[in-house]
């Protein structure tokens, strides 16, 4: 069941000049959250009208906290950056489907840009609930954009690629040597569309099952407005309810 919850800001940390880690706490028990699900955050000042969809980066049931990993892009996210400890944030959750854990036994998680956000919680669930230590490959422009490294290392083997070679291998995630001798049997991917499309092509070639998490623009987040559609083999599907996670086989990429 989805609900509207007033969370309290517990911490709001700048990870780099354009990325924040926002940790918020609920008074009540958290609902069960699946990896890949997202929230829809109400922006408090009136500078924007609609809520902003943000993936669930981490969940701490004990302390009733969730964390959000947010790239500051425009007015809505800028306003989230201004939040201070103790402020109230109204959040709609949990939204969307989730990654299909049964896709394989040796998963490779690939994240680019702020697409890494949902992969931490996915890695955690794989590790803690399914006894699987996944491989996580993070790609970014440069060293400053490779964040939360120690968090990923808790649950996963971490690989890094940067476009400028300042950390990990130089190049895009698609060029990483992890592909040369693939020891993974399924892929979960989230990042810029152009990257996900490239990964989709590779995984199809290699016949490895692959899921991607999409970030279409949304209004309601609950399947009511039909604004967030993605073209699939079943026609237009809502990214907010039929997704955000899709198996690449159903996409018309």
């Amino acid at each position: 069941m989805k609900s509207i919850v007033d969370f309290t800001v517990k911490s709001n940390k700048e990870l780099n000049s354009s990325t924040i880690l926002l940790i918020v706490e609920s008074k009540e028990e958290l609902p069960r959250i699946l990896p890949g699900q997202f929230v829809n955050v109400k922006i408090d000042n009136n500078s924007v009208l609609l809520r902003r969809p943000i993936s669930i980066h981490d969940v701490d049931y004990k302390n009733r906290q969730i964390s959000l990993y947010i790239k500051v892009l425009g007015k809505g996210t800028a306003s989230l950056k201004e939040l201070e400890v103790g402020d109230i944030v109204n959040i709609l959750l949990p939204l969307g489907n989730s990654f299909d854990i049964s896709l394989g036994k040796k998963p490779l998680l690939i994240g680019g840009g702020c697409g890494v956000a949902p992969l931490l919680y996915l890695a955690k669930v794989l590790f803690e609930d399914h006894n699987i230590k996944p491989t996580v490959l993070i790609g970014a422009r440069s060293e400053e954009d490779i964040l939360q490294v120690n968090e990923y290392k808790k649950y996963a083997d971490l690989l890094i690629s940067t476009e400028d070679g300042s950390l990990g291998e130089k190049g895009y995630p698609t060029n990483h040597t992890v592909w040369d001798n693939p020891e993974f049997d399924c892929i979960y991917c989230c990042g810029p569309e152009i990257m996900m499309k490239a990964i989709a092509v590779k995984s199809k070639e290699m016949n490895i099952p692959c899921e991607v998490s999409l970030e279409n623009t949304m209004a309601c987040g609950i399947g009511a407005c039909l604004c967030c559609v993605q073209d699939t083999d079943k026609g237009h599907q809502c990214v907010c309810t039929d997704g955000p996670v899709f198996n690449i086989n159903v996409l018309k990429w």
């Binding site: 989805k2 509207i4 009208l49 407005c225």
Partner: protein
């Protein structure tokens, strides 16, 4: 006890709050947040005779105090509604109204006839004002003659309450409202979205796949309110007001301007339980202003 029951020309609502078509799904999307039976009613999404895929993505862009959409009436068709959706909601103790859309008079008639047979659907809202479909849609709503034609034809095919939803993209909305009244509408609802557009200056491309789309939200409220005021003065059938209603104060403004009931649209996206908050706010307002019957404030301006 105060009275919030309104009677729309025979269609009784337990309170004046309806939800706007296309913004409330089939109601079920909101059942986690809203006790649907507390509403005066809800209007399900635009339904056409045949399945429609709608327009390509991207279909949405946010603007100053508003949003543009170009959904384009995506729906699985009236028969899908009848067989799959209707059984899920028919027993709700509230008014479920089907928004009937089409691109030809024949389509409107065919769709209305099918809905006419659904015993728990007491009314249709005839959408002659959708700016997001290539053929028909808004064309019927922007000329008095075309409006008269389609409404009078549907009137013959549909025996229950016929609400006609008007387009604001016109020079004189009272003309269209009067044509709908003359053609046998039981009520009119207004407004549908305004045709608008937005551009990404970095890509130098429109933000919607269809270039233009329908503008909704608080930005349109002043214009919608003016139109409701004009139409309420021009016709003798009840007027249902909408366009940018975000809170109880907005709802009351529409009622003061002449709306017997109101619809909440875009606001549902921001606060899924906003309809209940509006209902509570209307009760508070009645208390503060010693109003016993909500009908007493309708059209006092």
């Amino acid at each position: 006890m105060v009275n919030t029951i309104v009677d729309l020309n025979g269609l009784k609502l337990k309170n004046p709050i309806l939800t706007a078509s296309g913004t409330f799904g089939y109601g079920t999307e909101y059942s986690d947040f809203v006790d649907l039976e507390k509403l005066g009613g809800f209007i399900v999404k635009g339904t056409t005779i045949n399945h429609k895929e709608g327009n390509p993505y991207p279909r949405m862009a946010e603007t100053a105090s508003g949003m543009l959409n170009a959904v384009g009436l995506q729906n699985k068709g009236v028969n899908y509604f009848k067989s799959k959706i209707y059984p899920e909601i028919e027993n709700l103790d509230t008014n479920i109204i089907v928004n009937v859309s089409g691109s030809s008079i024949e389509d409107y008639i065919a769709c209305s006839e099918i809905v006419n047979d659904l015993s728990h659907i007491p009314a249709i809202e005839l959408n002659i004002s959708c700016p997001n479909v290539k053929e028909g849609g808004m064309a019927f709503g922007t000329s008095a003659k075309a409006a008269f034609d389609v409404v009078s034809q549907v009137r013959k095919a549909y025996g229950k309450h016929l609400m006609v939803k008007l387009s604001p993209n016109v020079t004189d909305i009272t003309e269209i409202a009067k044509a709908a009244e003359d053609a046998g509408a039981d009520s009119v609802s207004l407004v549908n979205t305004f045709m608008g557009m937005a551009i990404d200056i970095n890509t130098q491309k429109p933000l919607l796949s269809t270039v233009t789309g329908g503008l909704s939200g608080p930005c349109i409220k002043p214009i919608a309110l003016r139109m409701v005021w004009q139409v309420a003065k021009a016709v003798n059938i009840p007027v249902v007001g909408l366009g940018g209603i975000m809170n109880a104060a907005d709802a009351i403004e529409f009622m003061l301007a002449g709306a017997s009931a109101i619809q909440v649209g875009t606001a549902n996206f921001i606060d899924p339980d906003i309809t209940i908050k509006i209902l509570d706010g209307i009760h508070e307002y009645m208390k503060e202003h010693n109003i016993d019957d909500i009908n007493d404030i309708v059209g006092i301006i």
